[in-house]
């Protein structure tokens, strides 16, 4: 049996988790103090994911850049591909929070959306 020690990143509490694995199968998770912690622990050992935030250029807005994020978390190993996909993108103002900047980034099925009004 394998034991993996994790720190939950679901919220700033940072609960220390222990995930016990039998091969690929999770047999026990301890240390979490809320449901999100259990979900995180399960995901982190099977399919770790992250929200990715970045910026793209804006033309004609009150700022030159607009902040963006993946609407949902994407697989960890897609992070760098995701950021690369944002290279060279310029959007036109006005941009509103939630506007889709790039759909289905890096084939994840997740959209990049604006997080600021510009």
């Amino acid at each position: 049996m394998e034991k993996r020690e994790l720190i939950c990143i679901s919220c700033p509490m940072g609960c220390p988790l222990t995930v016990e694995l039998e091969g690929q199968e999770i047999v026990n998770i301890t240390g979490y103090t809320c449901k999100r912690g259990e979900v995180y622990g399960r995901k982190e050992v099977t399919n770790p994911t992250r929200i990715v935030t970045s910026t793209v250029k804006v033309e004609g807005g009150k700022s030159d850049m607009v902040s963006v994020k993946t609407r949902e978390d994407i697989p960890k190993d897609k992070i760098s591909e995701c950021v690369k996909a944002l290279k060279g993108i310029t959007v036109k103002a006005p941009v509103r929070i939630g506007d889709v900047i790039l759909s289905n980034v890096a084939g994840t099925g997740v959209d990049i959306v604006a997080t600021k009004e510009v």
Binding site: S54, T55, M65, S80, V83, K84, K87, G88
Partner: protein
């Protein structure tokens, strides 16, 4: 062919240029850095010495006292901050009293006025409540003062420029050859010819001197580390407090600045590297223990530390003369402390040599008065309001620690020999010189430099050369 080329736009070179601009002359200042006041002149104690330190009969003593006497009037003409706050030399043991007396005697012989040895402890405490209780006596020199070395240097250069002296920056002199009727200077920006050369190159003055003369000189960069403390600490002492060298060591000075900060320093370490302005752990540790004379120094209020190099010539004397074996080459070398104080007198002395040799006529258009930048802090509420109404940029604060406005930045950029770098802005306006040390104003100041001068953001530098602040754009290397 120029009549005169001055090497170096530090305070000496700029003072020479300004005095020379009183005459009809075709002259130019060559400076290897991107701005005036980039070497020894920018990193020192910022004080105007009374003149009791230098050996009796020396040129140093003479020019110190002269410079000290010129400064009150000059600061008005050039509209720069100067305060005659006085200085005290602190004597901590009876055994050293004769040394204090010797300073007094030397000062009197040098022509320093109003010197006084004070032993009345109540009076000393009233003058400086934060002096150590161990104090036995002080030498008071009311004619000593404090000045902004940046503004002194900048104002001298600016006034010289508006009176017709040329300035070329980023121009490093590489060699000097005698030619018919003068000199040829090879520089990083091409060759220049001139009848006379003034060597005001600070720590590099020996290099240029030795290119043309068989009678060699040697200048040692003597590094001094300093602490600059927050304005909250600026009133800790009212005057410049010197230590009397004693069995406790040489000691360092503690002084208020004209801008209300407190300076502690300098250390003194002889080094080889003429660019070696890095502070050291040992130096800063030494300063941290500098509280022999002044008690309760608030060392937690340090906002920055820096180091400057004094141009120490082996004979510890100013060398200001036309060289016997190189006629047409005038040294202005070995200008270490009290160089800042002496600079106006140095300028006059060198200009007089040149006037005589070149038989210069008076420049009838010379205007020695210069209007400095507006310092909002010195204005009344009504004056501020009126100014902002006229020029709204004075209502836009860029540096919140020092309360510097966009109007002051624009003025610093667009006035003669204006600022082109972050440090240039800082020296002229104090934007970035405060307690956050440019954390907040850096992006804003860069944007204004970019907008006003058309320099791309990625080419804006802290202090010229390769000191760019930004290296590129997001994602440009992925």
């Amino acid at each position: 062919m120029y009549d005169v080329i001055i090497i170096g736009a530090g305070v000496s070179g700029s003072a020479v240029a300004r005095e020379l601009s009183r005459y009809k002359v075709n002259a130019c200042v060559l400076e290897k850095e991107e701005d005036v006041c980039c070497g020894t002149s920018k990193a020192n104690s910022a004080i105007i010495h009374a003149g009791y330190d230098a050996a009796e009969g020396s040129l140093m003593a003479k020019l110190n006292v002269e410079g000290n006497q010129i400064m009150p009037e000059l600061s008005k003409e050039l509209d720069i901050p100067f305060e005659q706050c006085g200085s005290l030399v602190v004597c901590l043991d009876e055994a050293s009293l004769p040394n204090l007396q010797a300073l007094y005697d030397r000062g009197v012989k040098n022509g320093v006025e109003d010197l006084e040895i004070i032993t009345d402890k109540a009076r000393i405490r009233e003058m400086e409540p934060n002096l150590t209780d161990e104090v036995v006596a002080v030498l008071s020199a009311p004619t000593a003062g404090i000045v902004c070395p940046f503004h002194l240097n900048i104002a001298l250069a600016e006034n010289a420029y508006t009176n017709g002296i040329d300035f070329k920056f980023d121009t490093e002199v590489e060699s000097i050859e005698p030619i018919e009727g003068g000199w040829k200077l090879e520089t990083s920006q091409g060759a220049y010819e001139t009848r006379y050369v003034v060597n005001a190159a600070g720590v590099y003055a020996d290099r240029f001197h030795n290119m043309v003369s068989e009678s060699k000189i040697h200048i040692t960069p003597r590094r001094g580390d300093y602490f600059l403390l927050d304005k909250n600490a600026g009133k800790h002492v009212n005057r410049t407090i010197f230590a009397l060298p004693s069995k406790y060591g040489k000691g360092v000075l503690v002084t208020p600045t004209v801008h209300g900060n407190l300076i502690i320093g300098p250390t003194a370490v002889d080094i080889e590297d003429k660019e070696g302005t890095a502070t050291t752990r040992e130096g800063l540790d030494e300063l941290s223990k500098a509280s022999l004379n002044v008690k309760n120094l608030p060392m937690r209020q340090v906002i920055t530390s820096f180091a400057g190099l004094r141009a120490h010539e082996d004979h510890h004397e100013f060398i200001i003369r036309e060289l016997e074996d190189a006629p047409g080459f005038v040294d202005c070398a070995g200008i270490e402390s009290p160089g800042l104080t002496s600079s106006p007198a140095i300028g006059k002395m060198v200009a007089e040599i040149l006037r005589e040799k070149l038989d210069l006529d008076v420049n009838p258009d010379f205007n020695g008065t210069r209007k400095g930048n507006i310092d909002l802090d010195t204005l009344s509420k009504e004056e501020k309001a009126a100014l902002i109404e006229k020029e709204p940029a004075y209502g836009n604060i860029i540096c919140r620690c020092e309360m510097v406005t966009e109007g002051e930045l624009l003025d610093a950029i667009h006035r003669p020999l204006g600022a082109r770098t972050l440090d240039g802005i800082k020296r002229r306006t104090r934007a970035g010189a405060g307690r956050c040390q440019a954390g907040f104003c850096t992006p804003k100041t860069m944007e204004i430099l970019h907008r006003e001068l058309g320099i791309p953001m990625t080419e804006i530098t802290k202090s010229g050369g390769d000191s760019q602040l930004l290296v590129g754009y997001n994602k440009d290397r992925i």
